[in-house]
Amino acid sequence: MLLGRTANGLYWMNRYIERAENMARLVDAGLRMALTRTQNASEEWNSVLLSAGSDLAFSQKYQDYTVANVSDFLLRDTSNPSSTMSSIETARNNARMVRTALTRETWESINEAWMSLKRMLARPIDERDLPTMLDAIKRETALIRGSFYGTMLRNEIFDFSQLGTYVERADNTARILDVKYYVLLPSISWVGSTLDNYQWESILRSVSAHRSYRWVYDADYKPTNIADYLILNVRMPRSLTFCYRFLGEHLRFLADDYGERHACHATAEKIQTMLKKGSIKDIFDHGLHEFLAEFIRDNTRLGDEIALDYRFY
């Protein structure tokens, strides 16, 4: 038996842990672009902000799209509710609220991540320290994930936590693709220019997939392969299909446990079937941007339905 409020806390705790890490990954990809390309760095930072869903809020505060401004805004600015610092703080507040549902190891890893990031992000980041900082953020969230997977009982508490993780992750991957969808569209020349290559690598880097891509596809980046990898690959842990495989599984566990199916089950299955049946060619024919926009909408709806069906409020 689980309180609706507790399920809600677990769900959001995990969404925010995922988000804290995704912010670091996005800044990492942006930084890479800024280092390898001298022109148009501000355009790149703008797409990083777009992927983070923070472009509007940023432009209200800053005029210049510099490393210092963007990384400050996305990593340590507490007035930005999605920044790594705000996310880890929200995750920790939720963890504190649902503390009785967590193992001691899980709670302590979240509490320690919060303490150490708070300390690290207390002062403005020196650009030279940025790579170290990004590593540290990823390490802290990896430690949380490690203690979570290593110690939590696989029950409804685990299921609601995982729902949060995968809804957030699917949203994140879809947004990254949507911001850059135009560089993936088939062009007249199939061999990409150097510029395109950088763009493609950047997309892969923002989901930590630039190395594993080569294990699965050719060494050369091809836009259809990249899209295939991030949307349809079953084994790539940040692909949309992967996320929905687990969303489907955990929702099924809940339905079996409780002996009751809800609207969210139908929605998840519909999306899962769509991903399973679709080929990358169909998606491009349908329009990549249209596909992604629709996906983001459906994914958000699934989140709302889960909240309603399991009495989060």
Binding site: M1, G4, R96, R99, W107, Y258
Partner: protein, 470 residues
């Protein structure tokens, strides 16, 4: 004013309960002990054992300082203490039952009628209500001070929602982590089973109509409450739900909680929410922390609320001064544990005395707690005393006064080695069909040299409390 030191009194030398510990201590390298002190702080911070201090925005989460020197009580001392506590707790429950029913003690003139009738802690809504199993106060923390070898006094009865038990448990846990060898050398009675005892105790007072194993829940005001850590800790250790008012609703004459599978009935509610906030339909209408209609369910006998609403009348500071009479009235025997002499400022003669001796006394608000709003005469400046005297004259009924006692001391570890500091003791008592007292309790220690205020909100710390198995 020389205080009695529980380890090394000036007159008699090292006391027996501390002998084995002292032997061990002498073998330790001071640097290692300092290291252990730092380890302890890290353990507490990591596990998030924090409390909130009201009125301090920046430090909204702070640690209660922990001292690594245990406070040791012999088996014999403990047996005597528990007899006194049991007697007192029996009297408290009998008093509550009487006050909300026949009021024999008022008719007998042993406690003034107006002291009860005009008391905010007295809930007219409880008149004629008999809680399940007839228990009013289920969990009690009796604050005890010592001033000599055989002189123990009760400072306060906490019969509403005493806190601090999680520190008793975590302090022991931490000590066992830091000094496992000590527990092999010295037989200390365990306190770890408190959560199990609490659970059994709450289950035993379930409503008559509850079938099978009762559903128990802990009601917390929420994660911003200063004692939230403890609420979560106890729910976790008991394996029950930690609920907030927003999770609860009255459905078909029962209190239920909103779960992922719908509304589920609760039989026993261990509430850590004050009376006033318990039911907006009966008490404060602006309360969002309680459950609308819970009092109706309670009156119908369909839920146990622990502690019962209205128990505050028994630990009220004005009632406190009548405790010797109350104990004798209901148990037929003299109180084993004495009270500290108390002047009720509502009485003109006492007020006169208190005003004349303000510099020597401790003056407390009748309804205050946590060490807020009190004056420690000997430690206060002349100006503070004068200001307090004005408040006192304006509302004398709000205050009681007690002599400044030479609370016993226990050594703590400081940068310059061991140094004596004043302590008190809060053992925890569970009442169901029987009375159980966990061998130990929370020892609070005033960390500032010479200070007599042990409250954590006022710079006090805690110690592990050992009851020897001898």
């Amino acid at each position: 004013m020389a205080a009695f030191d529980e380890m090394l009194p000036e007159v008699s030398g090292l006391r027996r309960p501390y002998q084995a510990y002292d032997r061990w201590l002498k073998e330790q390298d001071p640097a290692r002990l300092t290291q252990k002190m730092e380890d302890a702080e890290r353990v507490f911070r990591k596990t998030g054992i924090t409390f909130a201090v009201y009125g301090e925005q920046e430090a909204s989460e702070r640690l209660i300082p922990f001292d690594i020197v245990p406070r040791i009580i012999s088996g014999q001392e403990w047996r005597r203490l528990t007899q006194g506590i049991e007697q007192r707790v029996q009297a408290l429950n009998a008093f509550l039952d009487d006050i909300y029913h026949r009021q024999e003690i008022l008719r007998a003139g042993r406690v003034p009628k107006e002291l009860v009738a005009k008391n905010e802690a007295f809930l007219p809504e409880m008149i004629g209500v008999r809680p399940p199993a007839g228990v009013y106060t289920h969990i009690i923390g009796v604050d005890i001070v010592r001033i000599g070898e055989n002189e123990f006094y009760v400072l306060e009865d906490n019969a509403r929602t005493p806190s601090g038990v999680s520190y008793m448990l975590e302090n022991r846990e931490t000590m066992m982590q830091l000094f496992p060898e000590l527990f092999q050398q010295i037989k200390v009675r365990p306190v770890e089973n408190y959560p199990q005892l609490l659970r059994q105790s709450l289950a035993a007072v379930r409503p008559q109509g509850a079938k099978g194993a009762p559903t128990i829940a802990v009601l917390t005001p929420g994660s911003y409450n200063s004692a939230y850590f403890e609420h979560a800790f106890l729910a976790d250790q008991m394996g029950v739900q930690l609920v907030e008012g927003q999770d609860l609703r009255v459905v078909d004459g029962h209190v239920t909680m909103r779960t992922t599978e719908g509304y589920k009935q609760i039989d026993v509610l261990y509430r850590r929410v004050d009376d006033a906030f318990l039911d907006p339909l009966t008490f404060r209408p602006d309360s969002a922390l309680g459950v609308p209609g819970i009092m109706d369910v309670y009156r119908a006998g369909n839920i146990t609320i622990a502690n019962a609403p209205g128990t505050g009348i028994a630990d009220d500071k004005a009632i406190y001064s009548y405790m010797p009479e109350i104990v004798e009235f209901y148990t037929g025997r003299k109180a084993i544990l004495g009270n500290i002499p108390t002047w009720r400022c509502s009485e003109p003669n006492s007020l006169k005395y208190v005003l004349e001796h303000i510099g020597e006394l401790v003056i407390k608000e009748v309804h205050g707690s946590g060490g807020y709003g009190m004056l420690v005469g000997p430690a206060a400046t002349k100006k503070e005393c004068e200001a307090f005297a004005k408040k006192l004259q304006a509302k004398p009924g709000n205050y009681i006064a007690q002599p400044t006692l030479a609370l016993s001391t226990c050594p703590i570890l400081t940068e310059n080695g061991l140094a004596p500091r004043h302590v008190d003791l809060r053992p925890y008592v569970l009442v169901s069909d029987r009375i159980q007292i966990v061998p130990g309790g929370l020892t609070r220690v005033a960390l500032k040299e010479g200070s007599l205020v042990v409250n954590s909100s006022q710079g006090g710390g805690t110690k592990d409390t050992w009851v020897l198995d001898d």
